[in-house]
Amino acid sequence: MIGRTLVFLLVLVASTASAQEAPKDILISRQLATEQGLSVGSIVRLAVDANGTGARTFRIAGIYEPTPDPARLGVVPREVRLHLPDLLDVMRPPGMLAGTEYVANINVALTDPADAAAFARDVNARMPGVIARPSSEAAGSAGPFRVIERFHLAIAIVTIVAATVFLLALSIMLVDERRETVGILRLIGLPARRVLVQVLIEGVIVASVGAAFGLVLAVLSEGLINAFFQWRYDTALVFVRITRDVALTSTAIAVPLGASATVLASWALLRRSGLRLARR
């Protein structure tokens, strides 16, 4: 088992201090560094409360970008990252013996990640009171992501329904506009199926061009949307990502939908006789 550094929020007591022994190294978040005017090499004192109880001196060895967390969106991450023994030294209440503290989590890297489930079962059986779970199951922070994804999917479905209805209305109007042309085509001998194929091909071409235009627009706006929200929340979180799957899914929905709307709108028209259509 490997004990890794943990992230905790501590109170920054003072920005400079002299130390008799070499101060231990810590990392601080970019946002905290910017807010407090700290840089690599700065000496700080950390304590668990504003009174400076048990304050210890540390040296800032680096500044890091915190892992984006959607659950903490809008909260400025003022974070300090310490080595676990240093953290326990700061946090240990008076009277508690060193080595009797507890930690919230222990991350384990296995030689073969495929053994994660079996390893977790083994630990749970051997160590009562300890809960071991494979990372894939313990990703609680993924909850908000999944919920937001479901929410966006629902919004997308409503948008598609609205767009389909409008598309049908437009198709009906456009087909109606070409009523006479269709009538003449029927009168000169083209069967209804032949005209329908022509309408279908036209629908596919228009829908494909529309889908391509939509994708280009999405790709162009992707950077703008990310830049705005990353600026707004001071986070590295990526809000919009046009992946290959997303592009394929939207094309797979848009093209058949557009073509179907055109064919559906033409169907009623083509059931009428050529003479009736051309007589308008």
Binding site: G74, G129, R150, A163, L174, E177, I225
Partner: protein
């Protein structure tokens, strides 16, 4: 016949396109309404939730209560706060994780809220839960549980539960405590999938094997009058702690936690309105272009320019108006579905709603739809107003 009647006949003459246009506006309008409800829903809902609790000030180590850290020397701090002349009552709230043992199944994970109140002037002390059946818990051996626990553990009022609570660390191995269930309660601040147990601080101490310490997750305060002044009076007697009124908590949440939904609502509102304007504009333009000869004939018969413009505007208003009417029930139905989706988010109180109906949201919805009807009609109105009568009639006859 007036312009609206004329526009109505024009729509009825082409029922398929009119119905589809109205349905399209209804779908877009429903989405628009939902985005407007979302923009303020969480704030309105949270304010309502806080106000309903009966406590108007929250004292904790963080600006927003419930985000970690505990108040040390809780009893002494609560006593100092209770001694203030503008304070009616205080309540110490301590929260711990608990596991309820049950036969024939895994333990039920729950959150145990232990409270201890102090009333100054005979003011009632309201626990942070509402008893639905039975009575509230008193003393060290009684608790109330929520309906989900009662169902899962096959319990009712008068039954007993065996639980292990962890007040210091989750991994404590404590002996189980047996407590009597005196009531079934509702915990408004509990998360959607979070089960709740409530009782006195002594009951929590008993469940934690006495290993609690004089700490509190939260101190709730009721003021005699002005909560803002009382919060200011609390700050000097509770140094290092945040004393926040309900309005301040909501304001802080507005700045931090809820901004994502306001932003997404603003973006989607803009996109939805633009989408509606574009599509209605195209529908009307194509419709007008198909009827150019007819409109030119009406002009030749004596219809004024403003009259044909009014006809187009009325047609737009009818499509948007009818669609807007349908969008209201549709939007509320959709909002309840979307609310259910978002409430699955971890840490969201079950009683909190993302979509809350408000008169102001409805007013904005109507205003935006009215603006959509006008803006969408601008281009087709221009076409009919600048239509050359003679040339159009000639083209129609030759065509």
């Amino acid at each position: 016949m007036n312009a609206v009647g004329f526009a109505w006949r024009s729509l009825v003459r082409q029922p398929a396109r009119a119905i589809l246009g109205v349905l399209g506006v209804a779908a877009v309008g429903a989405l628009l309404l939902d985005m407007l409800l979302l923009s303020q829903g969480l704030i309105v809902s949270m304010r309502d939730l806080l106000d309903r609790s009966g406590w108007d000030i929250r004292v904790s180590v963080r600006e927003i209560p419930g985000r970690g850290g505990r108040v040390s020397d809780a009893s002494e701090t609560a006593a100092r706060i209770a001694a203030l002349p503008s304070v009616k009552a205080t309540l110490i709230v301590r929260i711990a994780n608990a596991r309820i043992e049950r036969e024939g199944g895994p333990p039920i994970a729950a959150t145990f809220e232990g409270v201890s109140g102090r009333s100054n002037k005979g003011a009632p002390i309201t626990p942070p839960w509402t008893v639905l059946r039975g009575r509230d818990a008193r003393g060290a051996n009684e608790v109330v549980v929520d309906a989900a626990i009662a169902k899962a553990a096959n319990l009712d009022v008068g039954g007993t539960i065996t639980l292990r609570a962890s007040c210091v660390a989750d991994l404590e191995a404590l002996p189980p405590a047996r407590l009597q269930v005196t009531g079934i309660a509702e915990f408004p601040f509990a998360g959607t999938n979070e089960e709740g147990i409530g009782g006195s601080l002594d009951a929590l101490k008993a469940a934690c094997g006495g290993n609690v310490g004089d700490e509190a997750d939260l101190l709730l305060v009721t003021s005699t009058g002005e909560s803002r002044e009382t919060a200011e009076a609390i700050r000097p007697v509770a140094p290092g702690l945040f004393a926040m009124t309900n309005d301040e908590v909501v304001g802080r949440l507005q700045q931090t936690g809820f901004t994502y939904f306001r932003q997404i609502s603003a973006v989607l509102t803009t996109v939805t309105v633009s989408f509606a304007v574009l599509l209605i504009s195209v529908l009307l333009t194509v419709s007008v272009n198909q009827r150019l000869g007819e409109i030119a004939a009406l002009r030749a018969l004596g219809f004024s320019r403003s009259r044909v413009v009014k006809d187009v505007l009325s047609e737009s208003a009818l499509i948007v108006g009818l669609g807007g009417l349908i969008s209201l029930p549709l939007g509320l139905l959709l909002a309840s579905g979307l609310d259910r989706i978002l409430k699955a988010m971890p840490g969201i109180p079950a009683e909190l709603h993302f979509f809350v109906f408000e008169g102001s949201a409805l007013a904005v919805h109507i205003g935006l739809l009215a603006a959509t009807a006008i803006v969408a009609a601008l281009y087709p109105m221009r076409i009919v107003s600048t239509l050359p009568i003679a040339a159009t009639l000639r083209d129609e006859v030759i065509g």
